[in-house]
């Protein structure tokens, strides 16, 4: 298990007071996690001692910056068990990773009448890029439905994967239900049907061990900012053969090999997909975040989330009128969305904030999911490595107080 008190001392923000005398209880890690001092200092240190542009420089700083930036890529590759760091492409966030695939692979491989399979629980990031592509190409999007408990209807998948299906793109962990989807099984179903599989790991990467070789997925994307790392960076993993065959996405410096006024040839992987000066400090910060999580052990991170989620689901079940959506703790990551009868999620968030408790309220970029449930929004508390049972108790107490304000 995790040593939570020690972990808490790594996160400087946890020592701040939201209002005088009101310490922060941060239950919004699924939107963006807090950063341990190890990550903040890695970037600070980079800017103070090593900062320089990478890849084309011969001077000492540029060499050091390049080494640190590429070493971070190698760490991330190991973190997901990618066979080769060249298969790890830096992007700005999960969203850009998926857009890269939709633009580069999608424009080259999707034709009129082809099918794209998604699920009804996708985040907009794994929905809208495909809608844009499908509209442009005259392709068809199909959706795997979810069941009342917030898990996917797995029995529906085989029939939805037809010979026209070119790609099955789905989330590993739902950012609303918290559902952990059976990635390996879904990838296999896609492959059996002759489709490739893309995994949105934005919520999985922070919370559980990832293994792209075991999953055998063709693409996977996630963001640093949800896993102790900085904003402005994420990665797209892709199998080498696919990446090699794809045209570049954005064009400019670094991704080219030779440029003449008549045309250009592309650089090798991974740089073919990285145009312009990269997010260098952010790459280094991402590497430090991976070190930090490895230090904790992803198995332990996962176990702690399960423990806290279990505790939270029990505690929340005692609040009258509160309805948690999604499956039991054993099938979910540390994300718990709920409604409270008679109080709108915005008002819950606002009232909880006065007690220093940060949660999200809204559609969490999953409007179709909410639409199917017949609601516009939910309140969402999400837990991470620093979350304690005392914090959950305070959450529950604050919900009771909110009900009082609303005379419920």
């Amino acid at each position: 298990m995790l040593n939570v008190p020690q972990i808490r001392s790594d996160f400087p923000i946890l020592a701040t007071e939201v209002y005088p005398g009101v310490p922060l209880i941060y239950l919004d890690s699924a939107a963006s996690s807090q950063k341990p001092v190890q990550v903040i200092e890695a970037m600070d240190d980079y800017y103070r001692h090593t900062n320089a542009n990478v890849h084309r420089g011969i001077h000492r700083l540029s060499e050091e910056a390049t080494n640190a930036y590429e070493a971070a890529r190698a760490k991330i590759a190991r973190f997901i068990n990618a066979p080769d760091p060249a298969e790890v492409i830096y992007v700005s966030n999960t969203t850009e990773g998926i857009n890269l695939v939709a633009y580069s692979w999608g424009r080259a491989n999707i034709q009129a009448g082809d099918e794209i399979l998604l699920t009804e629980m996708e985040h907009h990031a794994n929905l809208v890029p495909w809608q844009v592509l499908a509209e442009e190409k005259g392709a068809v999007i199909k959706y795997v439905p979810f069941l009342a408990d917030g898990t996917l209807d797995l029995t529906a998948v085989p029939a939805l994967l037809t010979e026209r299906t070119k790609i099955f793109a789905f989330t590993a962990v739902s950012n609303v239900f918290g559902t952990v989807n059976p990635v390996k099984q879904l990838v296999k179903l896609a492959h059996d049907a002759g489709a490739i599989a893309l995994v949105d790991a934005a919520q999985a990467a922070p919370r559980m061990p990832l293994d792209v070789q075991d999953w055998d997925c063709d693409f996977m994307a996630f963001s640093a900012h949800k896993m102790c790392g900085p904003t402005g960076i994420g990665i797209l993993y892709g199998k080498r053969a696919l990446l090699e065959a794809m045209p570049p996405f954005q064009a400019g410096g670094d991704m080219i090999r030779r440029v003449t006024l008549e045309g250009s040839t592309w650089n090798e992987l991974p740089w073919k997909f990285e145009a312009g000066t990269p997010a260098i400090a952010e790459g280094i910060g991402f590497g430090a975040a991976v070190d930090y999580l490895n230090g904790l052990g992803m198995e332990n991170v996962h176990a702690h989330e399960q423990f806290i989620t279990n505790y939270a689901l029990e505690a929340l079940s005692e609040v009258g009128g509160l309805r948690v959506i999604g499956p039991p703790a054993s099938q979910r990551g540390g994300v718990t969305a709920f409604t409270l009868e008679g109080i709108h999620p915005h008002d819950i968030a606002e009232l909880l904030d006065k007690d220093g408790i940060a949660i999200r309220a809204g559609h969490h970029c999953a409007m179709p999911l909410h639409h199917k449930l017949g609601i516009n929004s939910t309140a969402r508390a999400s837990f991470y490595v620093h979350t304690t049972t005392e914090e959950i108790d305070k959450l529950v107490a604050s919900l009771h107080r909110a009900k009082k304000v609303f005379r419920l």
Binding site: Y19, G21, V22, I343, H344, P345, H346, D347, E350, L351, K354, D355, A361, G362, H363, M367, H370, N376, S377, S398, R401, V405, F406, R407
Partner: protein, 138 residues
């Protein structure tokens, strides 16, 4: 420490017992829009009298206490106003009527009903041509 200043009695009252809630059968215009923050939607129906003043108004939709209380207060306040006066109804006026301190994000909630009302009002032809239009149809 719970600071409830945003949730004064009046706001909770209006949330739980909204004014002018519902639909108008014979509205001159109907407009709806959502709050991108949360997906909440508000619809406003307006009926003008022969002088181009708001004769009746109703609103519907789902939302937080602030947006709902605001819609109640706003729809009450614009009864009897001309199209022109509705178009010029200021944000400040509405916020003052609500009268509780709001954060930036919640200001959007508070102003949603006004946005919907004004967007509808601007979409309307000005009174003369409106009546012409109605005459034309008759």
């Amino acid at each position: 420490m719970l600071d409830e200043s945003m949730y004064r009695e009046q706001i909770i009252d209006l949330y739980q017992n909204p004014l002018n809630y519902g639909h108008l059968e014979d509205a001159d215009w109907t407009y709806e829009e959502d709050n991108p923050l949360c997906g909440d939607v508000i619809e406003v129906d307006v009926k003008l009298d022969e002088n181009g003043r708001v004769a009746d108004i109703a609103w519907s939709g789902d939302g937080c206490a602030i947006s709902q209380a605001s819609a109640s207060l706003l729809t009450d306040a614009v009864k009897g106003l001309t199209l022109e006066e509705v178009r010029n109804f200021s944000k400040e006026e509405l916020l003052e009527m609500i009268g509780v301190p709001l954060s930036m994000a919640r200001v959007k909630c508070a102003l949603l009903s006004l946005k919907v009302l004004k967007a509808g009002a601007y979409g309307m032809p000005d009174p003369k041509s409106l009546h012409q239009h109605i005459d034309d149809e008759a």
